[in-house]
């Protein structure tokens, strides 16, 4: 590149944009919206450890991890769809069940390798159907994934006959499902590994970059030379593969599989993502936040069970939590705008 002599001359003319000093209170709200989840999670865990008997036991830590693992794996994957600005993938319900049933039913007959291949094929099909309809036809993601849920569950039930499938009690899968490293079950290690991998993909790869920038500004991303349709398919593919792994983990943990086993995973995963502070407007958010959201929701459920509080109250608490999380975010955005 040639040297830029004229620059110095012009520099003098250019005005530096004045930085507006932020008010303290506004900063407070923004800081809270940014980091609130860390504080909340820490406070919840600390107070539970102090006030709830048995919470801090090693066994209970294992239980919390068991609670968090499958839903967490779904949620960290679904974060990609949410960050791309497409609300959620309802069809994870069908995908998790499909993967679990395939894992046990197919591996019983043809071995693990064939099972994994078959499950990956299923994940790929889901991703392509969802991604093409949303990315190329610009159809609403909620309705598209709702219809693939119908079709997917219908197919699964038709093909599996609705039976419950068992793995051999001492098969590799069952051993993995029961295995622990200290108090940490292998499934939680999978969750941590998935979080790290997906955080890397989202923050450090070209693909993750386009997912984020698509969520912030679709048109600028397209004009930056991105095939935005492919980005959407990719986001759905990450979600589908995560749902597949969640299905494996779930199948390993219970060593059984049935088509109804993942009911409610769609909205539960989304709830964890929102509680973690990922914005449904797209762009803002991270996989790590989702992990925190999952931990927060799991710890909360765990504490409520330890206190022998009914299931109804747990659902109410989740609803209030979502409202609080988004309200703080909204107030912060408003403060930031002024």
């Amino acid at each position: 590149m040639s040297k830029n002599e004229p620059i110095t001359q012009i520099n003098a003319m250019a005005q530096a944009p004045e930085e507006q000093p932020k008010q303290k209170s506004r900063r407070g709200v923004e800081w809270f919206a940014e980091n609130g989840i860390f504080v909340f999670t820490a406070v919840l865990i600390l107070s539970a450890a102090i006030f709830v008997d048995g919470f801090a036991s090693l066994q209970n830590i294992t239980d919390v991890f068991h609670r968090a693992a499958p839903i967490g794996i779904v949620a960290v994957g679904m974060t990609f769809v949410v960050i791309s600005g497409n609300y959620l993938d309802l069809s994870v319900v069908a995908q998790v069940a499909t993967a679990a049933v395939i894992m046990i039913a197919v591996s019983n007959e043809y071995g693990y390798f064939a099972a994994v291949l078959a499950a990956m094929l299923a994940a790929l099909i889901y991703a392509i159907v969802n991604g093409v309809a949303v990315g190329y036809f610009k159809a609403n993601a909620v309705i598209v994934t709702l219809s693939t849920t119908y079709v997917g569950l219908g197919l699964l039930r038709l093909l599996s006959g609705g039976s419950i499938f068992f793995g051999p009690p001492d098969g590799a899968l069952a051993q993995f499902g029961a295995g622990k490293l200290g108090p940490v079950p292998y499934s939680a290690l999978v969750l941590v590994a998935m979080t790290l991998i997906l955080a890397f993909v989202l923050n450090r790869t070209n693909f993750g970059f386009t997912v984020r920038s698509f969520g912030i500004n679709e048109r600028a991303t397209r004009l930056g030379g991105t095939n935005t349709g492919l980005v959407i398919i990719g986001a759905f593919l990450v979600t589908s593969l995560s749902a597949m792994i969640a299905g494996f983990v779930l199948a390993a943990f219970s060593n059984t599989a049935v088509s109804a086993m993942s009911t409610g995973y769609d909205f539960q995963a989304l709830a964890a993502i929102i509680v973690g502070g990922t914005s449904v407007f797209g762009g803002k958010g991270s996989v790590l936040r989702t992990l925190l959201g999952v931990i927060f929701v799991s710890v909360l459920s765990n504490v409520l069970v330890l206190l022998n509080i009914g299931f109804g109250y747990q659902q109410m608490a989740l609803g209030v939590l979502i409202a609080l999380a988004v309200t703080v975010d909204a107030l912060a955005r408003r403060a930031g705008k002024k």
């Binding site: 250019a14 005005q15 530096a16 970059f209 386009t210 912030i216 600028a220």
Partner: protein, 499 residues
């Protein structure tokens, strides 16, 4: 006769730049008053102040001698009706409903449909537009929507009607009709403020003309006492402050871009060539079809016909989509940088990274250090201030944002660069830097296509100027010899002043 509406000593500044500077305009009943000026001369801002959408920093607006509060509602109540340049209709409601949007006649909450339709029909009859009042707006042509907008303004029984470039989207026949309609309305006692760049229209229609330039009022005259030539002179009117030394010696090479028979919405069968090392300027008025033309050429919008080829290193490639344009070294600096150009909540580095992913991270994994290094280099090269590449793009001023948009394309060493209004809303210093960058690119052998409504800019930069009107190239001028009047004359529909 007393003035119906009077704007006294209006001043309004945006971020230190005076968009309107001490302007006074007054219009009498039955008068059609033209307000003309180049793009960005301050006409639209003045009209927004008149209609209460913007508040002036100083000065006052009087209607029939009474000062009005500055709010949209007060303006409407006082009898000022603005026909927006951007359409503000609800697409899925009917014509009649849009005419009465927000003010349907009702009884006990129920819309009095018959009455509403009758009123709407009367209004449309009054302006002589035949359109099915039960039709939904989304199914109407842009021209029809424009007439519905006018009907909506008329339905408020205004004393003053302001029209901002009403003929931009109309065919000659429709324009013809609109003008005679306005004459009729004026004869009935309506005061009309007519904003347009189109000089023939102004001369056919208006009684008086006010000319704004750079926010200042420079000329007021009865139309009978002036000539089109004089009006154009006054619009352009500034001293030729073009520093001739700042013009470069163009040494055009081979044809890089060749577009043949391009048709698209708003573009009517255009051929265009740009050579290596050459800057081609597209002049013309807002709405002439320039943006549509370049977007169709590079595939950012769909075209309906035509071929585009790019020749790089002797290889001739067809451009079928924006992706293929990108692959062949096309760089596009869009007009709407907030919507199309930048991800405002991403850092400078990320914005620079966006189009350079393949190059900066061939393996697909981002190397933050490398990305930061490139971003830093580019920020220095375009003179970003402050050169903090971790800052969010949205926190920079307009000029610096535009520098980021340009910077992100420089790393790839593009073979063909398209810039759409590269210095709109940009301060003087940044403008000079951007001009320098554009020339530098051309000197390095890049083919450059610039769309600009800023005549001095167009003349300074371009080796060749095409003037676009109604989606067609109306004339081609040699950039070194052309002057502002020639460009404006072609753009506004006058014959070439000096052939």
């Amino acid at each position: 006769m007393a003035a119906v509406v009077e704007a006294k000593n209006i001043t309004k500044a945006f971020g230190g730049v005076k968009a309107v500077d001490d302007v006074t305009v007054s219009v009498e009943a039955g008068e059609i008053h033209a307000v003309v000026g180049e793009n960005g001369a301050g006409k639209s801002t003045l009209m927004r102040i008149l209609s209460g959408i913007e508040f002036p920093d100083s000065g006052q607006v009087m209607v029939e001698g009474k000062e009005i509060e500055n709010s949209a509602k007060d303006s409407i109540d006082a009898g000022i009706s603005l026909v927006h340049q951007e359409l503000s209709l609800v697409p899925e409601m009917t014509v009649a409903e849009n005419i009465y949007l927000g003010g349907f006649p009702t009884s006990a909450g129920f819309t009095k449909r018959k009455e509403m339709k009758k009123f709407a029909q009367e209004t449309l009859d009054e302006i002589g537009v035949q359109v099915d009042i039960d039709e939904r707006i989304s199914r109407l042509s842009v021209a029809l929507r424009q007439f519905v907008e006018i009907a909506r303004a008329i339905a408020r029984k205004p004393k003053v009607l302001i029209l901002d470039e009403p003929t931009a989207s109309l065919t000659p026949a429709e324009t013809d009709y609109l003008l005679s309609m306005l004459e009729r309305l004026a004869k009935q006692g309506l005061a009309i403020i007519y904003i347009s760049h189109r000089i023939p229209e102004v001369f056919r229609l208006c009684h008086n003309v006010t000319i704004l330039r750079d926010g200042k009022l420079v000329y007021v005259s009865e139309i009978k006492k002036t000539t089109p030539q004089e009006v154009i002179n006054q619009m352009v009117g500034r001293e030729l402050k073009l520093d001739l030394e700042s013009r470069r010696d163009a040494k055009p090479g081979d044809v890089v871009l060749s577009a043949v028979g391009i048709k698209a919405p708003g573009v009517n069968d255009v051929d265009l060539e740009v050579r290596a090392g050459e800057i081609v300027g597209l002049g013309g008025l807002v709405g002439a079809g320039r943006t549509e033309l370049i977007r169709a050429i590079i595939g950012a919008d769909n075209k309906t016909a035509g071929n585009v080829h790019i020749t790089v290193d002797g290889k001739r490639q067809q451009i079928t989509s924006y992706m293929s344009a990108m692959r062949n070294g096309v760089a596009y600096v869009p007009e709407e940088r907030r919507v199309d150009g930048l991800a405002m909540t991403m850092s400078v580095t990320d914005n620079v990274y966006l189009p350079n992913r393949k190059d900066l991270a061939a393996s697909g994994v981002i190397n933050p250090a490398k990305a930061a290094k490139v971003a830093k280099e580019l920020a220095d090269r375009v003179g970003l201030r402050p050169p903090e590449i971790k800052r969010e793009a949205g926190q920079y001023s307009g000029g610096n944002q535009q520098k980021i948009v340009i910077a992100k394309w420089l790393h790839k060493r593009p073979s063909f660069v398209v810039l759409d209004e590269p210095t709109r809303g940009v301060d003087v210093g940044a403008k000079a830097e951007i001009h320098r960058l554009v020339k530098e690119l051309a000197d390095q052998g890049t083919a450059v296509l610039v769309v600009s409504s800023d005549l001095p800019e167009l003349l300074e930069l371009s080796d060749v100027i095409h003037v676009v009107r109604d989606g067609k190239i109306m004339g081609t001028l040699d950039g070194a010899k052309a002057d502002e009047k020639q460009v404006m004359g072609l753009a506004a529909g006058e014959k070439l002043v000096e052939a």
